[in-house]
Amino acid sequence: MTRYVMVVDLRRCTGCQTCTAACKHANGTPPGVQWRRVLDIESGVFPNVRRTFVPVSCMHCGSPPCLDVCPTGATFKRDDGRVAINYDVCIGCAYCAVACPYQQRFKTQHAQFAYGADPTAPEERQFDPARLGVSTKCTFCSDRIDLARETGQVPGVDPDVTPACVNSCIASALHFGDRDDPQSNVSALLRENRHFRMHEELGTDPGIYYLTDTDG
């Protein structure tokens, strides 16, 4: 089996939001919709305070709450662990949006562009009317992962078949690969580092791992 996951090294993330911009560039999401963003979390009490940059997106859960609730079958799970949406079937009820504990579902009813009513050239090129009135989210750049099946390249290793956010990361904080392959880059990182997954207590089996320290 294959289970594509993302590994985020929180020690390395600088909060530059380059991944956020790369995602918008690659996927043409409208204003206000960020399939990927970086949280800036300050914690602790002076003088023991910490600031942590946390990239978040759809967690492509192993047990996705959005999948169970979807009344139409628009949300489905691919055999490589990715959670996907069939825009032609979705009715835009947003049940998945309220079921997702990571707030990673989005719905845009009307076309919106960055600079008023008229799209810029890239926005015009990427505009997809099928995405209006339905649920959308991070796909792990599914067109790239699908390309790997044709070319034999390895997602997470070959940039052509790796999600845009991972390719763009200036600090090598983002990694992508097959968790079920013990030889993969992500498996090695998970073996060697202390890590957690967000809201794991909710039983979602999320597919994004956060590294915090070396193991032992």
Binding site: R11, C90, A94, G133
Partner: protein, 292 residues
Amino acid sequence: MSVPNSSRIAPWRQTYWDWRAAGNFIFGGTGSGALVYAAVIPGAAPILGPLGAAFVVCGLLCVWFEIGRPWRALNVFSRPRSSWMSREALIAPWLIATGSLAVVPRLAELRVVAGAFALAYVYCQARMLNAARGIPAWRHPRAVPLLVVTGLAEGAGVGVLAGSLSAPAIATASWIAWPLAGLIALRIAAVIAYRHGLDRDGAPQNLLRDLARGAPKRLAVEVGAIVAALAQLAWPRGGNLPIDAAALLAVAAGWSWKYAIVVRWSYNQGFALPLTPVRGVGVSGPGARPGW
């Protein structure tokens, strides 16, 4: 603990389901409750059957106006194996048909079938809200009995009011106040249990604050409804006013609870870190859970 430069880290109020979604729970629950009432109270079915069905249709119309692709609405029937929304949608046509047909004298016994569908419908609605794991106020297990009981209480309220308008003899029968008062009392118990459950199991601070502000006012209305129902029992020859007031308050309070739960108290999960990362030297730091 502070949250710099973004409010969207600690739980914030979801905006995907607004008054239109609340309308489905409000009208669907009331209509279902009315059909259950019609199934158990003799003589109520000719009015409450179609009225309950109409309430349910209103609720479904609210949802239809909310979904992004209304002309694909029939796709909602596709996933009854896992989705409570599909299950609710599958029951709706049967509930509407049997409830509406109960107006025909020869088919009056359909009220029992409609009542069974109505019970299933209101249960589906409760489970539907409960299955939304992203919203702590909805996913708490005690939200389910609260939503079912409030639907039944609202239905009883509508039943009493409808009976009072159409057949005063039924409405003023003194025993009619007992089921209404009992259901309101049950709802009070369900609300208190729900609130204690959230306090005990943990919930966003915003939610607990809003509950602390909003619950006492609504509970006062509930107590007023019970007092009015008991007044009807104490002075059964005094006219319909006390029982009508109790019924009206029971419906209003139920709608208010559901609007608050669906729209006002629907804070999401927010983000949390079980650990913060090591920076340079040292070890991982304690976690952070803003807004909890």
